[in-house]
């Protein structure tokens, strides 16, 4: 639940969707590569035409 509190805190102070997700992943995850993989997936979903 503590994680939830800090996640909510950053969710309130951040505006950018990607930044919010980055913070959530950082708070939840330990493995850097997984965070990057997930975040890249989100970015690709946001801009599918960018994906090759």
């Amino acid at each position: 639940m503590e994680n939830q509190d800090i996640k909510e805190f950053f969710d309130k102070i951040l505006i950018d969707k990607n930044e919010k997700e980055i913070m959530k992943k950082i708070i939840d995850e330990i493995d850097d590569e997984k965070i990057i993989e997930d975040l890249l997936g989100s970015i690709i979903k946001q801009n599918p035409k960018n994906a090759k």
């Binding site: 503590e2 994680n3 509190d5 800090i6 909510e8 805190f9 309130k12 102070i13 951040l14 950018d16 990607n18 930044e19 980055i22 913070m23 950082i26 708070i27 850097d32 590569e33 965070i35 990057i36 975040l39 890249l40 970015i43 690709i44 801009n47 960018n50 994906a51 090759k52």
Partner: protein, 708 residues
């Protein structure tokens, strides 16, 4: 279980005293220590905090850090210790020790049986040391934001690490096998091949053109110089012929001059004698003429009269008139009949003379030839004077005629001599020896130069496989060549310039070809290098990686600069609320909610309230029960309790080790929620150990693992 031991050697002036633990050396994970002053309870907490780098922990209040430092930095005492905090729930043991001879503490963790050293930084990343003593409790609510600050910095470091990783991926992607780059290089390669072929073709055409034009140039020059050479040779030959002819003519003229001089001189000598005789004869005869020629004759030399065109008439007209006069005199003075008889007699005598030796009798007169001759001779002698007179006249007339002829001949010779001499003087066309030599040398020089040029062009043509006897044929043929046609009206000089330009063009193309070849080689190397690379899993996501990197960089800046600045300005904001920006206000509102969730419940005047927000700016705690509690109205114990609860409700994953001193100032209702929270966190595995210390008249050690 906490096991500990220590020794403090303290110089007290009169003696050095050893201080050792007076309380039990083994304590439960959650223990409340109640003891009187100077019993060593605070020393134990300071010692545990020292072993966990508490003297370097900025979250611990300055006054406490100073006390921790005193343990090792005081000159009057020396310290050695060792302790172990072993948590069975998390299977973690923390071991710290310091030898009396060393200034440094040594810290280890044993996780699942594996012992590893812990640096200050690593410890603070994995464990959360809470060491607190009640002090100015209202201000402490603001210190709750320290945890946020720490979190922000921890997250900033993670973001930074992620940024580095993403940068590394971008770099790897850029360096990995990239079909686009390979395709780009292949296109470049194809273009270079095309360019190379074009340049090669251009070079071949230029070289063909150069060969044709060079051949044309040399044949043209050969032809031109050879014609000039022939002309000059002819000029030289003509010059020599002219000179030879001129010399011959001069020689002939000299001979003629000499002959004429000699002959005229001889003739004049003869004529002068005759002229003198005739003059004398005529003077004796006293023949008179209208012009009185004889006087002129006697006064002037024959030569002078004949050489003078004006005077010459005195000779020729005089002779003519003298002859006429002499004939007239002869006719008048001599009996013609007698003269005729005399002539007949003379002829008959001459006839008979031939036969005197013959015995011939002339019929009719019956006289011998000789007799008749003698008879006639007597008769003829009677006429002799007439004959002599006539003969003297005839002789004089003949002499005059001869003089006329000779004079005429002399005049002819003299005029020839005069003309010859005059011609010699006035002949401008004759070549002087000096001019001739100059002209000859000049021509020879020109011929020599032309020979060298001809030889040069001939040799150049031979080098181009054109035989000397084929040059004219090649010249005629090459004029029709397609490469030569555009330049057919060019002279040698223009052609030479064209050829030089052509060579430069070929050199340029050769250089360009070398460059293209070099570039081709480089591109081929690059293609090979690119094709040998491994593909990256994010090969096609460089754009997305850059977007992510940008997000991370911005986020890191917010965490390290923007949000940190908001926290630093928190106390300034309190003084001037109007200066708060919208984003800062949003941040402060989030803090208010966040702290409320950490605190959850507050007790105020014996009533518990569910906290909705802790407004640090307006210094008010808002509750779900709509009760707004001003900080100033909040009790000291309640404030301390709220602060400790917030600390223990940490939002990160770190394991807590809690050291709480002087909690006696909290009443039971304020302390109870704190201890309950400690137990809860302990059971959840979030808290490893807690030592809670309060003043008492006697030593009481009590575990509160099972309850308060």
């Amino acid at each position: 279980m906490i096991k500990y031991d220590y020794l403090i050697k303290r110089d007290e002036g009169d003696e050095t005293k050893d201080y050792k633990p007076s309380m039990p050396k083994e304590l439960q994970d959650l223990t409340i220590i109640a003891a009187p002053n100077s019993s060593g309870k605070s020393t134990l907490l300071n010692l545990v905090a020292l072993g966990l780098y508490g003297n370097k922990n900025s979250k611990i209040r300055e006054s406490l850090r100073s006390k921790i430092d005193n343990l090792i930095k005081s000159d009057h005492q020396q310290l050695s210790y060792n302790y172990s905090i072993k948590n069975e729930i998390s299977n973690i043991e923390i071991i710290s020790e310091k030898k009396i001879s060393s200034r440094d503490t040594v810290l280890y963790e044993v996780v699942n049986g594996k012992k590893s050293p812990l640096s200050s930084d690593l410890f603070n990343r994995k464990y959360n040391l809470i060491y607190d003593i009640p002090e100015n409790p209202l201000e402490r609510l603001y210190e709750l934001t320290n945890e946020l600050k720490d979190n922000q910095l921890v997250y900033a470091r993670i973001v930074q690490k992620l940024s580095s990783k993403v940068r590394e991926y971008i770099s790897q992607v850029q360096e990995s096998r990239d079909p686009k780059k390979i395709e780009h290089q292949k296109n470049l390669h194809a273009n270079l091949i095309k360019e190379s072929a074009e340049k090669q073709n251009e070079k071949i055409n230029l070289e063909k053109e150069l060969i044709a034009l060079t051949k044309y140039y040399h044949t043209l020059c050969f032809d031109k110089f050879y014609n000039q050479y022939l002309t000059k040779k002819e000029e030289l030959s003509n010059l020599r012929g002219q000179v030879r002819k001129q010399k011959k003519e001069i020689r002939l003229e000299d001979n003629e001059l000499e002959r004429l001089t000699r002959d005229s001189s001889s003739l004049l000598i003869k004529s002068k004698s005759m002229y003198s005789d005739v003059s004398n004869s005529l003077s004796r005869l006293k023949i008179k003429t209208e012009e009185n020629y004889l006087t002129v004759w006697n006064k002037n030399d024959l030569k002078k009269l004949l050489q003078n065109n004006e005077m010459r008439k005195y000779i020729f007209d005089g002779i003519k008139e003298f002859k006429e006069k002499l004939n007239q005199i002869a006719i008048s003075e001599i009996d013609r009949t007698k003269l005729t008889e005399s002539n007949i007699l003379k002829e008959m005598i001459q006839l008979l003379e031939r036969y005197t030796s013959d015995n011939i009798i002339i019929p009719g007169i019956d006289k011998h030839v000789n007799e008749l001759k003698l008879l006639l001779l007597d008769k003829y002698r009677s006429y002799e004077r007439i004959t002599i007179t006539q003969e003297s006249y005839d002789k004089l007339i003949n002499s005059l005629e001869e003089l006329k002829n000779k004079s005429s001949e002399y005049v002819t010779m003299y005029e020839k001599l005069f003309a010859l001499n005059k011609n010699r003087v006035v002949d401008d066309e004759s070549i002087e020896e000096e001019d001739y030599e100059k002209t000859k040398l000049k021509l020879q020089d020109e011929i020599s130069t032309l020979e060298a040029k001809i030889e040069y062009h001939r040799d150049e043509l031979i080098k181009m496989d054109v035989k000397e006897n084929e040059i004219t044929e090649v010249f005629d043929k090459i004029k029709k060549d397609k490469y030569v046609q555009p330049f057919i009206i060019y002279g040698p000089k223009e052609l030479r310039e064209k050829l030089d330009g052509q060579k430069q063009d070929i050199e340029k193309i050769t250089t360009l070809l070398k460059e293209v070849t070099f570039r081709l080689s480089r591109v081929e190397q690059e293609i090979s290098r690119l094709e040998n690379k491994e593909e990256h899993r994010y090969q096609n996501y460089e754009n997305e990686l850059n977007i992510l990197l940008n997000n991370l960089v911005v986020l890191e800046q917010k965490l390290t600069i923007e949000f940190d600045e908001y926290l630093k300005n928190l106390k300034k904001v309190l003084k001037d609320k109007k200066q708060i920006s919208a984003s800062a206000m949003k941040y402060y509102e989030a803090i208010a909610s966040y702290l409320a969730k950490k605190l959850k419940v507050v007790r105020h005047i014996n009533v518990e309230y569910n906290v909705q927000s802790i407004d640090l700016i307006n210094k008010v705690i808002k509750t779900e029960q709509k009760k707004n509690i001003k900080f100033d109205d909040f009790g000291t114990g309640q404030s301390q309790s709220a602060y400790l609860i917030s600390l223990l409700n940490s939002s990160d994953q770190r394991k807590i080790i809690a050291l709480l001193d002087e909690v006696a100032m909290l009443d039971e209702k304020s302390l109870s929620p704190v201890l309950e929270l400690i137990r809860k966190q302990y059971k959840n595995g979030k808290l490893l150990s807690a030592l809670v210390v309060q003043k008492s008249e006697e030593i009481k050690i009590k575990s509160f693992i099972g309850g308060i």
